[in-house]
Symmetry: C2
Subunit: 613 residues, 2 copies
């Protein structure tokens, strides 16, 4: 039986006014919050009203923060700071919270001598204790004299005051050091508070890094399970609280951000428990994924051009859904459903993974806050467990094999043909909506147990694109996520970007030649690309000629090459790629993506020019 | 008579496909372009077709770029690099360009020994010279061995080859050093090419800084006039070419970006000429601004609430326009025009500055690519020179004084009253549309001769906001620009942000009290703000009580304080602030902006709740 940690979130993580933030935290399932002072200052709710609102929402107020620049070498300044603290203690009493975060000072009058600093902190701890309050002292990574967890612990130890303890913030610690084993030796009762944040590994000014680029645990590059294990080993039993300053989260829907953050804490606790420390609130690791059961395309209506393209690509229409306007197409182990229901074309509307334990996978997804997908189904039809991914894609969990639970919903009209050599779905490419890229990565990582690869970035014709692939260790399920970094404003052609299905073939030239002969609408690639390829890679001339003839893109990687041929954009927002991996290639052809995007853009413009009116 | 430099822009600066970029460069008035290789590779136009297209557009192809990682300690690799270069030389011949940019190598096999490196470059220069081509060698700031302009010049000097010269890029130079006086001693004929880019002063990995954050000259923090002067002093007479990698420009309308970039080169040449080097293509410094002649609000129709508010704020309606539905309101030297023409409410639709020489100011603006504003006016009415700013605000140039050219268009109905102590317009606050913030800063700087202050950033309730103020040295005209950094997506309340007119008063408490007594809709500020203010600033209790009563915001700066009282949002998208500057205050109250924004958001929500339907 999983045990739930006490989860909390700092109001600064979320967008909106204080009331928006409190409601979002409660909706997402947090147990408590940290009140970030500027959120309170801008609020018309009095501290007492905030206390009541939180109680109504079932939220404890776990921390008031931050109190900055307390210590001073200037006596007048120190007196003014004490006066300021007294005001804040009154606010805390009215809020009904007992712990205040005190940051190490960044001011020019900060105290350098650790004993003098400890004395000043102990003095304030005396005042706090008189009111039943306590101070959690935190080393800012850019503090003037105290900027490491060791230095903050040294000061707290010297002060030796029961109302003075530590606040440990994973960003401040891990942005400076990986020496964290010593944390486990701190007496647990002296760790008053724990703030958790991830971040991408960047080489930049640490203050800017902290204020703009923090991420929820599991979205960045820090080893947070190791950090949390050290803190739990010390005996810390307080809240696991998120403090994430992120430019995107600051302006995104706060409920959505809160759900994402809550998921990150559960996944972190699970990962830490998997390492042997703490308890797992999710309930066991993700069941293994064993392949892609099917990919569904929603066409929004009849789409003869898509049917023609699938046929030309070697697919056979092998069945019809018993009750819905859905066709099943097959080739090798690749299965594509075409959903012709009237409505908006959604490109890839559903992805089904073959799971070693579909019900367990679905329960796990629900524990991780994945929205359950209710689908109408007939009495004899399979009730496949399904959730909705952040980009709106439906995610089904199926038993492995073509005779799986879902296949019974289809009346088989013929068997799959040999086709042109497609063996399976290599991966799907899901262009993500704005601002949900990190959320999507965490979602697929936590819910499916996929491992994210290195985040990439490339200059596309109409702006920068971020990319990140996820795959299971055996490479049976792969996802390629992309997002436009800044696309907005009036000059934004080609939105939304198409999504795609990449199909594995053993010989891309042969497959593409057969597809073209059958009339598949293959995407034309400019001659300039092949001139450049010839300059970069020493290819046999007949091979280069075949590439040029068929539009093969050749991404030369360190251990092999990723070869692909793409179709034109079909069904409004989708294309199909035939993919051959040469050698140890584990890539996704990102290098060629700008060329591919330009070609698709031209194709769409040409089509628009041909469309009357 | 100003002399025009040969201006060029790298295609990488602009968004779109190659044909979009070429068209944009020509439209903006550039004389030439640099072809960025990936733009050509993705293009269906052959090099010969690109050559013809450029000729049709009146653009010279000044540079092909980049050629990377030429030199090598590995003979096979070097041979492959030479082979690659031969391919590119063929491309250049077809393009009809004679200069290729060769970057210092970042590869692990880069040559460290300067003589060996010079020998390899000379070898390639031999091959280039055989075809009438030449190499411009550039030190990347993150080159493996060659990463300063001095090191690149040392290698070029050692090679001593007529077809090998330098490319100087202001970013690569100024991101590493301010020691640039020695550039003037380089023989001018050895500087083959000059690339210009500005950048904000950031502390981060120089490659990331370069690839994402470059700006056009005058938009960042580099001393580009000094840099350009050194290069011109060396005798360089080639193109002034922009190479700017910027996340925003990469996805913005390329014509707009190109116009912005072209303006930046003209303004840079002018500033350099003002320092004594080169020629001024703009034609003399900006005539002095002597004050704000008027601010126009477009209400889109009758707006009794605005009329009532202006009256309560002490304004008198002193006249009506002879032919248009425009009223003139006055108080002290503050003049507000209310334009009731039917149409979309545009908040601040026009700003008129008092100029020492309006016709000269307008000519100068036109030289800088400011779109001329054609306004219908009657035969007896003033034909005020006007241009359109990047945010759509009309910008008029008027003679100083209330009896100026423009005032004759109004029938005076009464004289201005004493009002409640407003003396003048302190500044206007212009919330900028997405992606045009840096463009706007450069526009107002170049066209009006205002000096930008330090760029700021603050956490507003619904996302980060960037801010930048501009003012003339005598502080007679001030502008406060803001922009939401990332606001997009569905969760985006409060867009567009209101704009405002800040009115100078000598006693904000007295003025606010009088305004409130007259029924002005002053904005309510939460008690929490005053609790926090009391904790931060030791104010007399009666003063604090008055602030609380009237909603005064108090931003304590180092040399004084900025006190303001704001109205609610009026006319859909505008508010008025009464501003008292205490001591040497030169600020804009940014610290209080999040509180003000939250209060306006509440006011707008409450108004919506009260509106039936």
């Amino acid at each position: 039986m999983p045990a739930d940690p006490h989860t909390a979130v700092a109001t600064v993580c979320l967008s909106g006014a204080l009331e928006d933030k409190l409601a979002a935290a409660a909706t997402a399932g947090f147990d408590g919050i940290e009140i970030f002072e500027p959120d309170l200052v801008a609020s018309p709710m009095s501290p007492g009203e905030v206390r009541l609102r939180c109680a109504d929402l079932g939220l404890s107020i776990d921390l008031y923060q931050p109190f900055r620049d307390l210590d001073s070498t200037d006596d007048d300044r120190l007196a003014a700071n004490h006066r300021r603290a007294q005001h804040k203690f009154d606010v805390m009493r009215a809020l009904g919270t007992d712990t205040v975060l005190v940051c190490s000072s960044v001011a020019s009058d900060a105290v350098a001598d650790p004993d003098r600093l400890a004395g000043q902190l102990a003095d304030l701890a005396d005042r706090a204790a008189e009111r039943g309050l306590r101070l959690a002292y935190e080393a800012l990574a850019w503090g003037r004299h105290v900027d490491t967890w060791e230095a903050s612990w040294d000061v707290v130890r010297r002060a030796d005051h029961p109302a003075l303890g530590l606040c440990l913030d994973s960003f401040h610690v891990l942005s400076r050091t990986s020496e964290i084993d010593g944390i486990a030796a701190i007496p647990g009762e002296k760790i008053f508070f724990l703030q958790l944040a991830d971040a991408p590994v960047l080489s930049m000014d640490v203050l800017q890094w902290s204020r703009h680029h923090r991420l929820f645990p599991g979205q960045g590059g820090f080893d947070l399970p190791r950090f949390l294990a050290a803190v739990l080993d010390a005996g810390y039993a307080g809240p696991l609280s998120l403090e994430v300053f992120n430019d995107v989260f600051r302006q995104a829907d706060p409920v959505r951000t809160a759900v994402d953050g809550h998921r990150s804490l559960l996944a972190l606790a699970e990962a830490t428990a998997a390492g042997g420390t703490g308890t797992d609130p999710v309930g066991g690791p993700a069941p293994a994924v064993e392949g892609t059961a099917f990919v569904e395309i929603a066409t929004g209506g009849e789409d003869p051009a898509l049917d023609h393209a699938l046929t030309a690509l070697g697919f056979a229409r092998t069945g019809h859904h018993l009750t819905k306007p859905v066709d099943r197409w097959e080739q090798g182990r690749a299965r594509v459903l075409v959903n012709r229901a009237e409505g908006p074309a959604a490109a890839i509307s559903a992805l089904a993974v073959e799971s070693a334990d579909p019900p367990a996978a679905a329960r796990r997804a629900a524990r991780l806050g994945a929205p359950c997908l209710a689908r109408a189904h007939g009495p004899a039809e399979a009730d496949l467990p399904a959730v909705t991914a952040p980009d709106g894609t439906a995610l089904f969990f199926c038993r492995p094999g073509v005779d799986s639970d879902w296949s019974g919903d289809f009346r088989t009209t013929r068997s799959a043909a040999a086709g042109l050599g497609v063996t399976a779905v290599d991966h799907v490419g899901l262009a993500q909506p704005f601002d949900h890229f990190d959320e999507a990565t965490l979602f697929y990582r936590a819910v499916l147990g996929l491992q994210p690869g290195t985040a990439g970035e490339f200059a596309a014709p109409f702006g920068l694109v971020r990319s990140r692939a996820l795959a299971d260790p055996a490479r049976r399920v792969r996802l390629a996520l992309t997002v436009s970094l800044l696309r907005r404003g009036e000059w934004a052609p080609g939105i939304p970007e198409p999504q795609y299905i990449a199909l594995a073939v053993d010989d891309v030239v042969a497959a593409a030649r057969a597809a073209r002969a059958a009339g598949a609408p293959l995407l034309g690639i400019p001659d300039n690309y092949y001139e450049d390829l010839a300059a970069r890679v020493d290819l046999p001339s007949d091979r280069l000629a075949a590439y040029r003839e068929l539009g093969v893109l050749h991404d030369q990687g360190p251990g092999g090459a990723y070869l692909q041929v793409c179709t034109e954009v079909l069904a409004g927002r989708i294309f199909v790629a035939l993919v051959q991996r040469v050698g140890d290639d584990d890539g996704y052809g990102w290098t060629d993506t700008p060329v591919r995007m330009s070609a698709h853009r031209r194709q769409r413009l040409a089509r628009r020019a041909l469309t009357p009116g």
